[in-house]
Symmetry: none
DNA sequence: TTCGACAGTGAATCTAGAC
DNA sequence: TGTCTAGATTCACTGTCGA
């Protein structure tokens, strides 16, 4: 058994084998982004006929659920051994694998603290229109055991979120632009590089300065870079020589923030956007309601999906308003009115009411 | 075996036993809000409502997970039997139980379509400041099997969301105010009554008018009420007499939307088909018209029989479009454009016009 | 320099109906 | 059950190029 921890290094090799070389109870926090076990069946094209570059790498191929479960149990068991009693672990995944990971975490004795939703501000759309846009990924945050006295930097999280408690859903963009590592041909080096903002928040929430962070699936080293920037210590493991090399270079280039430097970058405020459909769903404008314009010249009926119907016309509040008045465009929020106690009230007013209620909550 | 389905009824009893009485392949959609086995009032109850022995913190013991898993496998297996081949199921839960449910769904052969996040606009804050505010619940939406040709009302969902694709994260408020059922003392009747807006969206997304919806854990009957309002058929099961009674009363009081008012935006596939030839016949696109793509890179001439000719190529608008772009397929309706007053207009727009004229005539 | 048009792209389990 | 084909299907953002 080695007595020294390989701090601030990225080890090349299989994560289970490499973790076996680490002493028990030696790390404060684990962040893991394991293969998702996507099962893509064929090629997918965008409506403009361009090809989607899907994840078809060998490292994401598993025979069946049993094989994936075995793999998951193995690396999670080893990670648990390496964790201090009060350490916590983050695991990120999608619906393909996250349920299996959550189950195994619980079975191994981890104590789930939160499931945190990474809401992507710019996800890939669903091109075939057969499902909801897959616009999020799930992270499970768990302590080593039920009685762990884990670290949660409550005040830092609150400060980061305009002085209200940080919620379990985080709105963050994908890793794009200059942050994305590319090879000599300009192609992305890794198909699933995570954004720095995500790891920044994870480490800020659950670790302290000089804490030891382990990432058993380092990839291109986003965790490594953020750990160094935030003055945490880091141990990385990566099986792929190309990824490991890129991560090592990235880690070396990264500069730690000056000691004591403010590290809280405020969260991007979620701009409230209210589709007309929300007013319908939430009962402020029930389906079947009759709307009319200010002068009661034209009218239309509200459908359950928030469209208006007027004779054979159906469409959004804006579209139907424009059609009925033969105008090129129309602001349905101010055009359409609701009768309440003999008074006509524009939809706009109702929307303001919904926003006011939300702001209170 | 009964020959008649107990439609628009709420059955009092254990959901597994009651589902056994239903014929296989008989329902179109299942919505289930199973018990979480949270520790309420210091008691931990098993799925069969028996009290867990000993201290009140036993949920982490493997034995209890095993018991919950057994219960979950049982009711999900029975639900699957009752589902039509193309039916879908929704299950809602939190991090306490949703990972186990997701794993078992997959193991039973269900095919996950989305995990949908209900983001609560007004969640309960975290009082101890030891975790992130638990501000969401997770729903899993799955088809009965991998090859199910399930229903997804894409156009209705898009309309509901201001004409952009509905995402997998939904912002909706908790069930409060007048919607919340209360007993004679003004106390809430059910600890986790779901908001009507949530079920409104679920049913609008995944069912059609007159579809049969099953809710094996009816509780106070939000699914029942929304099914009736939206003119779906309903089968409910509830074990607790107080809840069943409340749900039955609520279901009886609920009024369905008028026929037609319950209709949402139809899928484009369901709109009457217009052959391109009829645009030619009716003079909207006279024979000899020159069509081109959006960027005017390729062009073709319209024949009297509605085929296109480009050099030596002749065929349907789709075939010629595909050939000229070397694409495996092509939607001629959106690919080909007509020049009108210097502007390029897709054939799709002309088709919409023809349909509108027909509807009025 | 600035602006607009256009092209490119991201962890994706992505068709339906007739024959 | 398979085979064939008509035709349905995208959002937010970044970067480049040309005027």
């Amino acid at each position: 058994m080695p007595v020294e921890l390989p701090l601030d290094q990225i080890l090349l090799g299989d994560c289970v084998e490499m973790m076996r070389l680490l002493p028990a109870g030696s790390v404060d926090c684990v962040f893991a982004d394991p293969p998702y076990n996507l099962q893509l069946r064929g090629e997918l094209r965008r409506p403009d006929d361009s090809l989607v570059d899907g994840v078809d790498d060998d490292w994401d191929k598993f025979g069946d659920f049993a094989e994936y479960d075995r793999f998951t149990r193995e690396w999670l068991s080893e990670a648990r051994r390496v964790m201090r009693k009060d350490a916590t672990i983050w695991v990120i995944g999608s619906y393909h694998n996250i349920f299996r990971i959550g189950t195994i975490l619980q079975d191994l004795g981890f104590w789930i603290l939160n499931d945190v939703i990474w809401r992507k501000s710019n996800p890939m759309p669903n091109f075939r229109g057969r499902r909801f846009t897959n616009a999020h990924e799930t992270m499970i945050w768990a302590a080593r055991g039920k009685n762990s006295r884990y670290r949660f930097n409550y005040a830092a999280m609150k400060a980061l979120n305009d002085d209200v408690q940080m919620r379990s859903d985080w709105l963050l963009p994908l890793c794009t632009g200059g942050e994305r590592l590319r090879n000599a041909h300009g192609l992305k080096l890794h198909p699933t590089q995570k954004p720095e903002s995500l790891l920044h928040r994870v480490l800020l929430a659950s670790t302290g300065i000089d804490d030891i962070v382990l990432d058993p699936f380092t990839g291109t080293g986003t965790t490594a870079a953020m750990a160094k920037r935030l003055r945490r210590r880091f141990i990385g493991i990566e099986r792929h020589p190309d990824y490991a090399e890129a991560a090592i270079g990235r880690f070396r280039r990264e500069r730690p923030l000056a000691e004591g430097e403010a590290v809280a970058t405020p969260a991007k405020r979620d701009v409230p956007r209210v589709p007309f459909g929300s007013l319908v769903e939430q009962g402020l404008v029930p389906p079947g309601t009759r709307l009319c314009d200010k002068s009661r010249r034209v009218s239309a009926t509200v459908s359950p999906d928030g469209t208006l119907v007027a004779g054979s016309r159906r469409g959004s509040i804006h579209q139907v308003g424009a059609q009925l008045t033969n105008a090129p465009s129309c602001n349905g929020w101010t055009f359409w009115h609701l009768e309440q106690e003999g008074q006509l009230m524009p939809l706009d007013t109702l929307r303001d009411r919904l926003l006011a209620v939300r702001a209170e909550g």
